[in-house]
C-alpha cells in the first residue's frame, strides 16, 4: 500500500498530520538532524509521538540525516538506542557511520536520506544490500526514471511530491557554508541559492535582469497516479517548518487524491485538489524534475506568489451538540460577521457566518484578537477536535 508521509515540526503538527491523513510522519530529534531551526523533538516528545501514531496504526520516522564531522560522532549510538527504546519505526540517515551504527547495533529500520542523492539503481541497490530498507530518491529523477528504477530494486522507494526544492543535488551544496559559515549538511542551510545575484561576464553584467537560481516549489498532484502505478512505496511532503494549517491542508488534499485514485483508478479532474491547496498556500509551484529537466517555467524569478484564499483563524477544541456551541483556540484575527469554513479531520466541512462570539468567561465579544485565546461560538454543525477554522478571504 502506498504511504503518504508528512513533515512535523512539533507534537501538535504531528498529531494534525496523522489526523488529516498521513500514514507516517518524519520528525527531527534534537541531535543529528537537519533543519536545526525547526522545533525539534526531545526523546520524551518522540515517545509520545510514537505512542500517538501507533495507537492509530501509523508510523514515526526520525531524521538523523546530518553529514557529521569527527566531533559529531560521539553519542550517536546512545541516541539511536534511545530512539529504538522510544519505538520509532525508522530513522532517515545519510552518513555511513550513523547507518552502520544503526544496522550493526540496533534493530532500527534505516531509510537512506535524500542527502545521499541516490540517483541510479546501482546506488539504491548498494544501500539495500547493506541493510537499508528504504531509499529516498534524488529529486533530479523524472517520473519514468523513477518507474524504471523501482522495477529494478527490492528497496522501498520514497519520492518527494510536495514542497521546497533544493537547487543543488542534495548534500552536495556548501553555498551556505561558504557564504554564511552555516553548515548546510548539519542543519544550518541559509538558502543562499534563493538570493538575488548579478550575472557578469568578464566583469560586465550579462542582463539588466537579476539572476536567480531559485525554483518554484514542487507540487506533484497530477503525477500521483503515475507514481502509485510505478510502485513507489512512499510519497513525501516536505516542510518540517511549515504551519499547522499548511500541513492539514496539504496532507488532506493528497490523502483524498490518493484514496480516490486507489478506489476509482481515475482522477477525472484535478482542479478541486489545486483549489484546496490554495487555501493554505498559494505559492508558485511546478512539477520539479518529474517531467524532465526543469526549464524557465520551473524557475522562480522574482514573481510574487498570491496570498492563500483562506486564512487560518482557529483550531477546533470541542463541540456541544445540544447547544451547538463550538470551542476553538484563536490563531488569527477574525470577528463577528466573518465568513468561515470549518474543515474537520474526518474530512467533513461546512461554511457559515460567525453570528456570535464569547470569551472563556462567556462574555460576548465582537473581535477575536488574542492568539491562542479560547473562544466559543455557535455553529450549525459539529466542530471536531483539531478542526481547521478558516476565514474565507
Amino acid at each position: 500500500m502506498i504511504e503518504l508521509l508528512a513533515p512535523a515540526g512539533d507534537l501538535e503538527k504531528l498529531k494534525i498530520a496523522l489526523m488529516y491523513g498521513a500514514d507516517a510522519v518524519f520528525i527531527g530529534g534534537q541531535n543529528f538532524s537537519l533543519r536545526a531551526r525547526a522545533s525539534n523533538f526531545t526523546i520524551n516528545d518522540i515517545k509520545e509521538a510514537c505512542a500517538f501514531a501507533h495507537e492509530r496504526g501509523k508510523k514515526v520516522y526520525i531524521t538523523t540525516n546530518i553529514i557529521p564531522h569527527n566531533e559529531d560522532l560521539e553519542g550517536v549510538l546512545e541516541y539511536l538506542k534511545a530512539l529504538e527504546e522510544a519505538k520509532v519505526d525508522a530513522i532517515i540517515s545519510a552518513s555511513p557511520y550513523i547507518i552502520d551504527q544503526a544496522l550493526n547495533y540496533t534493530n532500527l529500520e534505516v531509510h537512506l536520506s535524500t542527502q545521499q542523492s541516490a540517483y541510479n539503481t546501482n546506488t539504491v541497490n548498494y544501500w539495500y544490500d547493506k541493510g537499508v530498507k528504504r531509499v529516498v530518491l534524488a529529486r533530479e529523477l523524472d517520473k519514468n526514471q523513477i518507474k524504471d528504477l523501482t522495477a529494478k530494486t527490492k528497496a522501498d522507494i520514497e519520492v518527494f511530491i510536495h514542497g521546497g526544492m533544493c537547487m543543488s543535488f542534495s548534500g552536495r551544496c556548501s553555498l551556505s557554508d561558504n557564504m554564511t559559515g552555516r553548515d548546510a549538511n548539519r542543519g544550518g542551510c541559509a538558502h543562499s541559492c534563493r538570493w538575488n545575484y548579478d550575472l557578469v561576464e568578464d566583469g560586465k553584467k550579462v542582463s539588466n535582469k537579476t539572476f536567480s537560481m531559485s525554483s518554484k516549489d514542487l507540487e506533484a498532484l497530477e503525477h500521483i497516479p503515475f507514481l502509485i502505478d510505478a510502485n513507489v512505496k512512499s510519497l513525501k511532503i516536505e516542510g518540517r517548518m511549515k504551519s499547522l494549517h499548511y500541513i492539514a491542508t496539504v496532507v488532506s488534499t493528497y490523502r483524498n487524491l490518493i484514496d480516490t485514485y486507489l478506489k476509482d483508478k481515475n482522477i477525472p479532474d484535478f482542479a478541486p485538489y489545486y483549489e484546496e491547496l490554495t487555501k493554505a498556500e498559494n505559492r508558485l509551484a511546478s512539477h520539479g524534475y518529474l517531467e524532465g529537466l526543469p526549464g524557465v517555467e520551473q524557475q522562480l524569478y522574482h514573481q510574487r506568489s498570491e496570498k492563500p484564499s483562506q486564512l487560518f483563524i482557529g483550531l477546533g477544541v470541542n463541540y456541544d451538540e445540544k447547544t451547538q456551541l463550538a470551542t476553538i483556540e484563536q490563531r488569527n484575527y477574525f470577528k463577528v460577521g466573518s465568513e468561515i469554513e470549518v474543515f474537520n479531520p474526518s474530512g467533513t466541512r461546512f461554511t457559515c457566518k460567525v453570528e456570535d462570539l464569547f470569551n472563556e468567561e462567556h462574555e460576548a465579544i465582537d473581535i477575536a484578537r488574542h492568539p491562542k485565546q479560547i473562544l466559543k461560538l455557535h455553529v450549525p454543525q459539529k466542530v471536531e477536535p483539531y478542526a481547521m477554522i478558516r476565514k474565507i478571504v
Binding site: 536545526a36 555511513p96 540517483y119 528504477l149 561576464e201
Partner: protein, 295 residues
C-alpha cells in the same frame, strides 16, 4: 605526497611532468567542472604520454550519473585504455559499483564533494577495496589530519584552486537567458561570475556545462602554507586549474613541489590572474549548534 594537476592541453603534459606526478583529465559526457573535455583519442594519447614519462593519469568522471549514463560510462571505460589509467575519479556511488562490476574497484577514487567529513565515512568504501577517496572541502585542517591518521585507503584532496560549492543538474544560465529573452552564449564559458548584493567584493565563478550548473568559491583555496603537516597524511594533492591555464599549473605547481611559499611569486601569480587566496575551512569550523540533548 604526490602532486597532481588538471590540464587544458595534452601537448603541455611533457612540460608539466617536471613538476607534477600525474594528471587529471576527463570527458564531458561523464566528467564535470572540467578544465577541458578531452576526446577518447586524446585520453588514450594522454595515458600513453603519462606512461612514457612514468607519470600517473586519472580519469575525472565525477558527474552524478543516472542509469542511462551509468550504462554509457561502462561502455566508455571498456573502450579506453583503462589498464594504464592510474585511477578513475567518480562522484557517484553508482559509478563505484559499476567499476566494481568490471573488476576495477582498485582504480576507483570516490569524490562526493561534501560527504566525506569524518574518519568513518571517509573509509566506508574501503571494504569494497577502492583505491582512494577525496576528503570533503568543508572541514578543518585538524579534521583532515585526524582522518588521515586512520585512513584505510589513499587520501586525496584538492589542495589548490577554485573549490566547487554548488552542483545543480539544472541549466540555470540557460533558464535565466530564456527568462531575460536573450540568447545563451554563456554555456560552458569559464569567464562568468555571479555577484550577490551584500557580498559584492566576492564574485563567485559560475559554470554551466552539460552536467548542470556549478558555483565556485570566490577566493582560490591554497593549502601551500600547510604542506609539512599535510604530507604526513595526504597521498595525492590536486591542483585544480579550472578558470586558469596550464601556465598557471606550472607557476603554482612549482611552489607546491618545492614547498616554498615564496611571497614574491605568490603575489605575482595573484596579480597576473587577478585572484585572492585563502585557506577555506582549514582554520574555520562551519557553524553547527544542536540544541541540548534530552539524553
Amino acid at each position: 605526497m604526490k602532486l597532481l594537476t588538471t590540464l587544458y592541453h595534452i601537448d603541455h603534459i611533457e612540460s608539466l611532468c617536471k613538476i607534477f606526478d600525474g594528471f587529471v583529465i576527463g570527458n564531458d559526457q561523464f566528467g564535470t567542472r572540467l578544465t577541458h573535455s578531452f576526446s577518447m583519442n586524446e585520453i588514450n594519447q594522454a595515458i600513453d604520454i603519462a606512461k612514457n614519462n612514468q607519470k600517473e593519469i586519472y580519469l575525472q568522471a565525477n558527474q552524478m550519473l543516472d542509469d542511462t549514463l551509468i550504462d554509457k560510462f561502462g561502455l566508455f571505460i571498456d573502450a579506453i585504455n583503462h589498464k594504464d589509467l592510474s585511477g578513475i575519479i567518480v562522484g557517484d556511488l553508482g559509478a563505484v559499483m559499476l567499476l566494481k562490476s568490471k573488476g576495477l574497484t582498485d582504480k576507483a577514487i570516490y569524490h562526493p564533494e561534501t560527504l566525506l567529513t569524518n574518519s568513518y565515512d571517509f573509509n566506508f568504501l574501503a571494504k569494497e577495496n577502492i583505491l582512494g577517496a577525496f576528503v570533503a572541502k568543508e572541514i578543518t585542517l585538524d579534521d583532515i589530519l585526524t582522518i588521515g591518521q586512520s585512513k584505510a585507503i589513499k587520501l586525496f584532496m584538492v589542495g589548490h584552486g577554485h573549490l566547487n560549492m554548488f552542483y545543480s543538474k539544472r541549466q540555470l544560465i540557460n533558464n535565466f537567458m530564456d527568462f531575460a529573452q536573450q540568447e545563451n552564449t554563456s554555456h560552458n564559458k569559464q569567464n562568468l561570475k555571479i555577484i550577490e548584493e551584500q557580498r559584492s567584493e566576492q564574485p563567485y565563478p559560475i559554470l554551466e556545462d552539460n552536467a548542470g550548473t556549478h558555483v565556485f568559491r570566490s577566493d582560490v583555496f591554497a593549502a601551500l602554507h600547510h604542506l609539512d603537516e599535510l604530507q604526513k597524511v595526504i597521498d595525492y594533492l590536486v591542483v585544480d586549474t579550472i578558470f586558469k591555464d596550464d601556465e598557471y599549473a606550472i607557476k603554482v605547481g612549482s611552489l607546491y613541489k618545492n614547498n616554498k611559499a615564496d611571497e614574491h611569486t605568490i603575489n605575482n601569480i595573484k596579480e597576473t590572474y587577478q585572484e585572492s587566496w585563502d585557506e577555506g575551512f582549514f582554520n574555520t569550523k562551519t557553524i553547527y549548534k544542536p540544541k541540548e540533548s534530552s539524553l
